[in-house]
Every structure is written in structure tokens, then in C-alpha cells.
């Protein structure tokens, strides 16, 4: 936990960090305010968006697009250590390579906790304001989507962290991260049968926050096979472990 305290010492006066986080918060608020007019599957959502308990699923589905921003934030924090050469100095001063990875992973978890709590607050606020059913039961019956979202956020940021340690330059790392998550893996999915690619990192992670109304969609076209959120959690956790391990090995093998 001392590692986390040191991380906070670094970022407390760091404007870039707070600006990116501020953009994240603002965009989430903006989307939610305007989401009454958002159309999913050709149907305007209206007040439907804010109804408990489906609100949690819709909320986490919307939030999952913004994991990209959290990933970029992590990439900036990691590549900074390379461009300022502070990572080198800190290993000289006593940090082990495992601690270097852990200190950034603690930051990842902290950011995921922040965004999950933020979503909980948003959900409760909008739900209590607009939902017709405000019973405790319906409020919290599907709140477990938040825990899936938490796993997803941690996994996304762990992948971003891996790219940052791999590439070491912020611009290139961000491009690689976006290219992999949004282009390369989806292209691979095209080539492979669903039974196989549903276990791929991006697909497994996206299965944690399924698209609301997927069932209707599936009736119209051939159904997409994907893991249920609960089942997707297991490979996602394994991927988090894998990204951490790869990052550690990278540091172990390479000169700083």
C-alpha cells in the first residue's frame, strides 16, 4: 500500500492526469443526460434508460466505451516514467521490477474502483430520480453488473499498461492499444468461428457488459454466440493475470 501512496504523491499535482479524469467524468455525465434520446436497435430509449433494475446493464454498457479513456490515462502514467527516466532511477533507488508493475497495477485498481463507484452513484442518482420502481429489491437485483464492469475496467487498463511498458512512447502506445482493441482483434474475430473467438481477450471482456436488447437483435439476425457475463469473468481474470505476468517478464528481460 506504500506503493500506492507514492503513486498518489506523483499524480496529486499532475494536471494531465486530472484533466483526463475530468473529461471521463464529464463525458459520462453528458451521455447519461442525453441518453434518453439514444437509440439502441432503432428504438429511442427515453425514460426506459433509467428504469431499475435494467439500468445497471445499460449503464455499464455505456460506460464500457469509456474504458478506452481510462486505458489512455494508464498509458500516459506509465510512459511518463520512461520519458522522465524516473522508472530507471526508482529501480536504482530500491524498487524491484515486480514492485514497478504492482505500483501501476494498484493505480489501475484504484481507477477501476473510482469509475465503479462513480457508476454506482450515477445509477442511484438517475434511477431514484426517474425510475418508476424504486423498491430496494429492484434497485439492487442487477447491481452485479457493476462488479462485471469493475473486472472489465481492470482488464482493459491492464492491457493498456502492458502496451505502455512494451512500447514506452505514449503516442505509439495509445495507437497500438486502440488498434489492437478496436481493429486487429475484431478482424481476427471475423476469421474465426464464435465458439473459439468468444474466449479472445476483447470479446471476453466485452461480454462482461452485454449490449442491452441483444436478444431482440439475435432474433432478427443469426445469433451471436458469446459468454454470459458471469462466465466471461473467469477468462477475464485470467487475462488480467496474463497481462501482469507479461509486463513483469518484459521488465525482467529488458534493460531499463
Amino acid at each position: 500500500m506504500n506503493l500506492l501512496r507514492t503513486e498518489f504523491r506523483k499524480i496529486a499535482p499532475y494536471r494531465t492526469f486530472w484533466v483526463i479524469l475530468g473529461i471521463y467524468v464529464l463525458l459520462m455525465l453528458l451521455i447519461l443526460y442525453s441518453s434518453t434520446s439514444v437509440e439502441i436497435n432503432g428504438k429511442a430509449l427515453g425514460n426506459e434508460t433509467y428504469q431499475f433494475p435494467g439500468l445497471w446493464m445499460r449503464l455499464t454498457y455505456i460506460a464500457h466505451f469509456f474504458n478506452l479513456l481510462l486505458g489512455i490515462l494508464v498509458i500516459v502514467l506509465v510512459t511518463d516514467e520512461y520519458s522522465y527516466r524516473t522508472i530507471r532511477q526508482q529501480v536504482i533507488d530500491g524498487l524491484s521490477r515486480a514492485e514497478v508493475v504492482l505500483s501501476k497495477f494498484y493505480m489501475v485498481v484504484t481507477l477501476a474502483v473510482f469509475s465503479t463507484v462513480f457508476l454506482l452513484a450515477l445509477g442511484l442518482y438517475f434511477g431514484l430520480l426517474y425510475s418508476s420502481d424504486k423498491s430496494i429489491n429492484s434497485m439492487f437485483s442487477q447491481v452485479d453488473y457493476l462488479s462485471y464492469y469493475f473486472v472489465q475496467a481492470v482488464a482493459y487498463m491492464s492491457l493498456a499498461m502492458f502496451f505502455a511498458f512494451l512500447i514506452r512512447k505514449s503516442g505509439l502506445a495509445i495507437i497500438a492499444f486502440i488498434a489492437y482493441t478496436k481493429i486487429i482483434e475484431p478482424l481476427i474475430h471475423f476469421k474465426l468461428p464464435d465458439t473459439l473467438d468468444k474466449y479472445f481477450p476483447m470479446k471476453a471482456l466485452d461480454s462482461l457488459t452485454p449490449m442491452p436488447g441483444q436478444e431482440i437483435f439475435d432474433q432478427l439476425t443469426s445469433p451471436v454466440e458469446q459468454l454470459s457475463p458471469a462466465w466471461a469473468a473467469l477468462p477475464s481474470l485470467l487475462y488480467i493475470g496474463l497481462f501482469l505476468l507479461l509486463t513483469y517478464l518484459l521488465l525482467k528481460i529488458r534493460d531499463l
Binding site: T6, R9, K10, R85, R88, Q89, Q90, G94, D255
Partner: protein
């Protein structure tokens, strides 16, 4: 004397380039050990390896007789190449981060800033510092934990003459406290002024090492002249400690073997009834010696 750092056959290869080639040396406790060599001779690579940020291709090293670990790192204060800090953090906050990592007492921060003359600038962000101030902050960071060993890589690089004098003075003050200092430099003058021991590197290889006196200052040249040069030349041929002599116009240039000085020569000349009209001890220019060492 205890051995602080022992390097055994350490090598680093980058592809076909050998940056450090089978380097073996030992640094004794309490010495000020200079790593001297031109740019690109492998000084920083060597320090990077013993400081755990560059992986050796082969060979080994030990600190205080142990492998490198958190415990040994906390006994070392090091600055490698450039001062590395967060530009948007103040001097004080940068040191707080380092104190966290070193497990140093945060009360040392103000004291150390004071020591390097940055006490009044402790709330200035690092990016607002001049190069000299950055270098001094790096020294403060290295000193934060009151380490037994200081490893300094070109600590006076980019400083103005006053800054250089200050940093050297600081190094000597620290050395006086009985601390071991390992100093990499391409400046001969610096090594000669500050160090007790020196290892000379060239293209990654150890050329020579030993006490500074033996390596850099042993060869004194004497210039003598007398009314009659013939008896002088005769005597010089017989004196066992004369390594070499050359007659030039009306004077003779003499190189003595190690451990002898102009006093010995003067005494023997006088004993033979030769009175010298001139006896000048001239140190061979250090640059010349250095170039000779790294060329041979």
C-alpha cells in the same frame, strides 16, 4: 579494507558491439574510485549494470559481498547520466517520492536540500531549475538516505566553473566522512583532483587501474642544466633510478623511475661535485599521459 564493490568479468554486448568487455575490478571501502575514459568507453554501461538497470551479458558483481537487493540498494546513493525527476513536481515533492522508495526519513529532505544549496528553491518545480540546480537536486536525492556508497556518473557535466567547484568540494566533504565514492568521468582533471583510485577504460576494456598517484602522477620529468653537461650525462648513465634521459640543446630532460624525485637526483649530483644551474620538475601533462594510456 573491506571490498564495497567487486566486479568479475562483467561484459555487455549490444548485438556485435561490445560495450563492456570482461571488466574486473574492486572498489575498497573509503576510497574515491574514478572510472576514467573517453565518451563511449563503457563507464555508464558498467554503472548501469552494477545498479541493476542494465542486464549484464555475462559476468557477475557483488555489493558488500552480496548480490544486489533492496537492502543493498538502500546502502547506495546513485545518479546515472542525467538527473531524473518529475518535471511538474517541486524539488521537495520529488525528494518525497524518492524518500518513499528508499525508505528514508522524510525529515532528511530539508536537511539534504540545504546541503546542496537548494533550501530556498524547495518549492520550485523541477522544470524551472537550471542545469546546475538539477544536478544538485540529483546529488541531494543520492544523499537522502545517508548512503555508505555514492555512485556518481559525470556529476559535473554541464555545470559552470563555480558549479563544478561546488560539486567537487561537496564530493570531497562526503569522502572525508569515510564514505566510498565511485565516480565516472571523462575529465582527467576531475579524477585527478578528487579520486584516490582510478580505473581507465577504453572501448569497454580495462586499460589500467590502481591508486591515482601510480597511474597518473608517477612520471615526473626533470629538466636540468649545468655549465658543463658532459659530467652530468656521464653520471646519469650510472644512476640506477634514471629511466630515460635526452639531451636537448643546453639542457637534459630526465624521466625517473617510480618512487624517486628531483631531491634524489640533486643530492647525487651534488655528491659528485656537480652543481646544477637549473633543476625543474615538470609533470608530464595529464592529458598527454591520459592519451598515452588509452592509446597504448
Amino acid at each position: 579494507m573491506a571490498i564495497v564493490l567487486s566486479i568479475d568479468n562483467l561484459s555487455k554486448k549490444y548485438g556485435s558491439l561490445t560495450a563492456v568487455d570482461q571488466l574486473t575490478l574492486q572498489v575498497e571501502e573509503g576510497s574515491v574510485y574514478g572510472l576514467l575514459g573517453p565518451n563511449g568507453s563503457g563507464k555508464t554501461t558498467t554503472l548501469g549494470m552494477v545498479l541493476d538497470v542494465i542486464r549484464p551479458s555475462s559476468g557477475s558483481f557483488s555489493w558488500f559481498g552480496e548480490g544486489i537487493s533492496k537492502a543493498t540498494k538502500h546502502r547506495i546513493g546513485a545518479l546515472l547520466e542525467t538527473p531524473n525527476f518529475y518535471p511538474y513536481l517541486t524539488a521537495k515533492r520529488n525528494l518525497q517520492v524518492i524518500a518513499d522508495i528508499k525508505g528514508a526519513d522524510h525529515h532528511n529532505i530539508n536537511k539534504t536540500l540545504d546541503l546542496v544549496g537548494l533550501a530556498t528553491r524547495s518549492n520550485t518545480t523541477f522544470k524551472g531549475f537550471s542545469l546546475g540546480m538539477k544536478q544538485r537536486l540529483a546529488l541531494a536525492a543520492a544523499l537522502l538516505n545517508d548512503p555508505e556508497v555514492l555512485v556518481l556518473d559525470e556529476p559535473t557535466n554541464g555545470l559552470d566553473p563555480q558549479g563544478i567547484a561546488e560539486v567537487r568540494d561537496l564530493i570531497l566533504r562526503i569522502a572525508d566522512q569515510g564514505k566510498t565514492i565511485i565516480l565516472a568521468s571523462h575529465l582527467l582533471d576531475e579524477v585527478e583532483k578528487v579520486c584516490t583510485h582510478v580505473a581507465v577504460l577504453r572501448t569497454g576494456k580495462l586499460v589500467t587501474n590502481g591508486p591515482v598517484g601510480n597511474i597518473l602522477s608517477a612520471k615526473e620529468q626533470l629538466i636540468v642544466s649545468a655549465d658543463e653537461l658532459a659530467p652530468v650525462l656521464q653520471l646519469l648513465e650510472r644512476l640506477p633510478y634514471v629511466a630515460q634521459f635526452n639531451q636537448e640543446k643546453d639542457y637534459v630532460i630526465i624521466t625517473l623511475q617510480e618512487g624517486y624525485s628531483s631531491t634524489d637526483l640533486n643530492r647525487d649530483m651534488f655528491a659528485q661535485g656537480i652543481v646544477l644551474s637549473q633543476l625543474v620538475a615538470r609533470r608530464k601533462s595529464l592529458e598527454k599521459q591520459f592519451l598515452e594510456i588509452i592509446k597504448s
